[in-house]
Symmetry: C2
Subunit: 317 residues, 2 copies
């Protein structure tokens, strides 16, 4: 079974890792690059790095982002000299940004750089940025428009959200490999990432959303028991006038979905979400251990396989 996973940061990377352990080269992860930004003269791609570090087994297990066995000497020096230290960068992580920035300046596209890095890190699955064109996510708030990292890291998600803008996304071209991977995929998995600022930016790139319409698409809810495991997704749903719930996530993706996976603690919502056009799976979605990642991936793949088999059965009848 060929699978394309759409992923943002920490939660998405965990499920992508579970899928990668099972599918190896049959998995393509398309990663949000709307969070990417320039800082200290470096091009930083937080979601891409989180996915790659996680799949390579290099991620910091406590923080979820950044590298394990990390030191912080460069950013400490920057801070001691009066420079900006609101975006924390470890030394090993800094090496990734330095080399990526060097290659970008040489004219290498981000997708090619990511391929080289994944090879160096021994990642068997294909990891692709959603686009080589920058499409910065702008958060519309009660304090004005804020670039994503300004909202997310510098202002700690405190401003109240009123909407989002993905600059240049309609004109952006999906990265080489993304259209083929989607076309060839049996199943699309929307990872438990923030729908507003991790998945929507991917869907907004060029023709990506349209290309997903005919596919079998399963989303895993990032909201468990009304809360997000990490990050501001729940807060965003509330501030935008929705309830913070798995049901709201399913509603957000709407007709894009063929299947929806929610946690056992939200099992009561199953009947409210299930419809003639949307299959629902209730399982354990909280990923605390590496085994949890693989188990959830296996559950999602079985669920997808069942939906695909049913489709074939219906056609044959």
């Amino acid at each position: 079974m060929k699978v394309v996973a759409l992923a943002g940061g920490v939660g998405g990377a965990k499920l992508a890792d579970g899928l990668a352990q099972i599918l190896l080269a049959d998995l393509t992860v398309v990663v949000n690059t709307g969070d990417d930004f320039d800082h200290l003269g470096l091009r930083i791609c937080p979601d891409l790095d989180t996915v790659c570090y996680t799949l390579a087994g290099l991620a910091n297990p406590l923080m979820g982002w950044g590298r394990m066995d990390e030191t912080w000497h460069a950013i400490e020096t920057v801070a001691s000299l009066g420079g900006p230290d609101w975006f924390n960068l470890g030394d090993r992580d800094m090496g990734t940004h330095l080399e990526r920035t060097r290659r970008l300046r040489m004219g290498q596209p981000l997708s090619e750089i990511t391929r080289v890095f994944c090879q160096a890190w021994g990642i068997e699955s294909l990891v692709l940025p959603m686009s080589n064109d920058p499409t910065p996510t702008i958060v519309l708030t009660d304090q004005g428009e804020l670039p994503f990292q300004e909202y997310f890291v510098h202002q700690k998600c405190i401003p109240k959200v009123t909407g989002f803008r993905f600059e240049g996304s309609s004109r952006a071209v999906p990265a080489p490999g993304v259209p083929d991977a989607i076309r060839e995929a049996d199943l699309i998995v929307v990872c438990p990432s923030n729908p507003w600022v991790s998945i929507d930016p991917i869907l907004a790139v060029g023709s990506i959303r349209a290309s997903l319409q005919p596919k079998t698409v399963i989303a895993v809810s990032p909201i468990i028991g009304g809360k997000t495991v990490k990050g501001p997704a729940g807060k965003m749903f509330t501030e935008l006038g929705f309830e913070s719930s798995a049901k709201a996530v399913a509603g957000h993706y709407g007709k894009l979905l063929t299947g929806f996976v929610l946690d056992q603690v939200d099992g009561d919502d199953e009947d409210k979400i299930h419809s003639s056009s949307l299959e629902v799976l209730v399982t354990q979605t909280m990923m605390k251990t590496p085994e949890d990642r693989k188990q959830l991936a296996a559950d999602v793949l079985s669920f997808g396989y069942k939906i695909l088999s049913d489709k074939i059965d219906r056609k044959e009848k």
Copy 2:
């Protein structure tokens, strides 16, 4: 006594440190920036950093360059991703380059950035780049023209030297503070740095050499017993057709000098160098310990004081 020291890398930084310990704010160190270059998107100023780290007590005592308690995680990552690692950069050191590069991009001049850094590092003496204008040193060799770090670090000084070029130096403007410091100085000390690629680049900037002509200038030989303590100065003298000796150093600086300091092991050369226009001091110039630096600085200052007193005596007669 107000003193201006001209300095390059490790040897120069050591004497500058000895002078700084005695003179504090009465010392201005004018540092070679001909070695400066762009690497990994960072502006790197090797001599400026060596002088500042040394004066701040932050220098790596074993290597002479770079920071103490250093880690190498960023450059290790760059290397693991296929990037260039021929110029070794520690993580703490990387922080200096990141913040300097950030400030340069904001439009701050190098001299102002150096002032801010020296303040952060608690350096009481004034450290100035020779110029805010880039004047890259090009080494002319039997293998063609090589940018300095390409010759010095990447090719390990192996190509045979035929000459040097200091690009743009005649049009370059001395950094703010340099002309005033020279005018107000009682004594100019040419540190035991490489005459060809550390001191000559300073002398070549705009009107700096001319402004030194009326001053009392003492040079300390970087060549001891026919050899340089560190670096390719001796090799350069030989390849350019001179003998590698303290005498050759004195000859190189010529009429610029009022006094010359050479090591005890070269004491036999004293009579050959001494002339009606050049005073000579023989003393221990090898700086192995922090005490050596201060002792040599004290010897140089006493020697300078004697020369200045004699001048006044002669005028009064």
